[in-house]
Amino acid sequence: MTPINISLLVFMIGLYGVIAKNNMIKKVMGLAIINASVVLFFVAIGYRHDGMAPILENQTYNSIDTVLVNPVPQALMLTAIVVSISLTALALALVVKIYAKYKTLDVQKLYRE
């Protein structure tokens, strides 16, 4: 059960939220959970056995003795987290606008309009 399996499980939970719920706010929250699972997957890929975090307190870097995990996917996922925030905010603004016009949050009732 490596972290890659756990990231796939969290993706499945988010996917259940998107396809099986009828409330629109729950669907948008499922999208946010899927974003979080992708961030976990990318950070888990860069793991090396018995590695430390890439922050060198008082050590010097010896390319054979010190084993550091890969710092590049962690730096790229900062951008991915900000994209996830912006996407959730815009989707929720759309949901608020739809509720103001049709007075319902149920997707099955909106199909018949």
């Binding site: 922050i55 307190e57 900000v82 905010a89 603004a93 608020v96 606008k97 103001a100 016009k101």
Partner: protein, 141 residues
Amino acid sequence: MDNSKIIKTIAQKLFPLILLFGFYLTLHGHLSPGGGFQGGVVIATAIILLALSHGIDETENRFKEKHLNNIEKLAILAFIFLGMLGIFNNYPFLKDIFPLGQRGFLASAGMMIPLNLVISIKVAAGITGIFYILVKYRGEI
């Protein structure tokens, strides 16, 4: 909404501590995990805590929306100005021109501290602005 006296008092006492923690995360971005984005979100959380416990109208009187929007745009322009400092000295855009210093000290790492401060101010103002617009909507189509 009229909350109880306990919640209002506790939120008022906690606000400077959360703000201090956000500034700590921002300033020590080159020595420990943290940086601009993380510190900015913590500062926005402090203002949102005040807005949830005291009501949105009173909080808007202290942190006006017009000032927050202006601060955000000025922070982006300050980022671009820090990049142009390199062009004025015959270097490429966004080159590090401040002195590097010793490793492990607070005053080190060149242009990282000004960049972290600018990013944290921008993120805090942006997320608080989004919160204000989402809360003050009153059902117009």
